[in-house]
Symmetry: C3
Subunit: 132 residues, 3 copies
C-alpha cells in the first residue's frame, strides 16, 4: 500500500501538524499492527515529531533554526535556498512510526510535523503502511 498525500504550505518556513492525516490513513486501511513509513520527496522540506500543544514551540524551533542558519550566508548555490537544503538534512525527510492495536503510537505531546523550509509550495508526502 503506497499513497501520496498533498500538502499545501503557506509560508517560507512553516511546521504543519499532519498527525490527523496519518491517523486517517491508518483507519482507512484497517491496520491493527505494523509500521508506517513516511517519505518527503523534496530536498527543501522535512518531517519531524515535536510538541502538538503550545504553538510557541513551533515558533521557537523556526526562530532558532533561522537564527543559526539564515537564508543569506556565503553560499554558492544560485537558487537562494541553501539554508532550506541544510535544514532538510538536519531534520530528515523520512520517518517510521509504529501502529499498535490500530492506533498510531505517539507520546501525549507528540505530533507529526511537516517541515516547510522554502515555501509556500504544493508539497507531497509518500506514505506506505506495512502490516505485521
Amino acid at each position: 500500500m503506497l499513497k501520496e498525500l498533498k500538502i499545501q504550505t503557506n509560508q517560507r518556513e512553516e511546521l504543519i501538524d499532519i498527525t490527523h492525516l496519518i491517523r486517517e490513513e491508518i483507519a482507512s486501511e484497517n491496520i491493527s499492527n505494523g509500521i508506517v513509513h513516511l517519505h518527503v520527496p523534496h530536498t527543501t522540506a522535512a518531517i519531524t515529531i515535536n510538541e502538538n500543544a503550545d504553538p510557541d514551540v513551533k515558533r521557537d524551533i523556526l526562530y532558532k533554526l533561522n537564527k543559526e542558519i539564515p537564508q543569506q550566508d556565503n553560499y554558492y548555490h544560485g537558487e537562494g535556498n541553501s539554508d532550506a537544503h541544510i535544514k532538510s538534512s538536519l531534520f530528515g525527510p523520512t520517518l517510521q512510526l509504529i501502529v499498535s492495536d490500530s492506533k498510531l503510537l505517539l507520546g501525549t505531546w507528540q505530533g507529526i510535523l511537516f517541515c516547510e523550509f522554502d515555501g509556500p509550495r504544493n508539497r507531497r508526502l509518500y506514505l506506505k503502511i506495512v502490516a505485521d
Copy 2:
C-alpha cells in the same frame, strides 16, 4: 511484539548508553533476522547512535549542542525548555536497527544513546521487533 522500557535520567542533559537493553530484548524474543524499531514518546528527548568507548565524546556532543543552542534565547514557550525541543528534532526520536543472525548490527564503536535534554525525568522507550 511491542514493549515499553523505562529509563531513569539523572541530569538535565545526558546521553545514556542503552545498547545492552536492546540486546536483551532481542535475545529474549529469540529473533534471528529482522528490524528493531525504537520510538521515544517525548518531545524533549531523542535517540541516536554514537561512540560507546571514550566518554569524552558524549561530553563533547552535549557541550557543543549547548554552546550553539543554550537554554536561554529569545524563546516564547513558557516552560523554559525550547532548547530541548529543538535538540529532540535535530537528533530525532526514532531509530531503526537491523538484527542479523540473532545479533544487533552495529559498528565496533557504535552504541545506542538515549538522549535526555530536559531531565532528570522518568522516561519511556517503545521497542517493536519485526522478524523477517
Copy 3:
C-alpha cells in the same frame, strides 16, 4: 538479505552520491515492493538525502556545517574529530527507503548521500532489503 557495500572516501569531509549503488542492489534482488534499510556502522560518518543536481548544494551543506561546527573547539576527546561525531548524530547513520514497483522511491531532485566527516577512509554501508 543483508549486504555490505564498500565506500572509499577521498576528503576529510565529503558528500558522495550513492543512489546508483542502492538502485543496483534493488535490481539484483528483483524486489517489487518493500523497504530498504541502510546502516552506516561508523560514528564519524552518516547518510542523508539531498539534492543530486547542482554540486554547489553539497558544497554549501559542508561549508555551513564546518562554519558552525569547526574541527577545533573546546573539546576533550583526544582524537581531534569531535566535530565529526556531532555531525554524524545530526544527520544520522541510518535511513529507510521505500521500493515501489521495483523502483527506489525518491523525489526528482533527491539523491542518497554518504556523508564522510572524518576521512579519507575505507567505509562500509550495510543494506538490508525487506520485501513486502
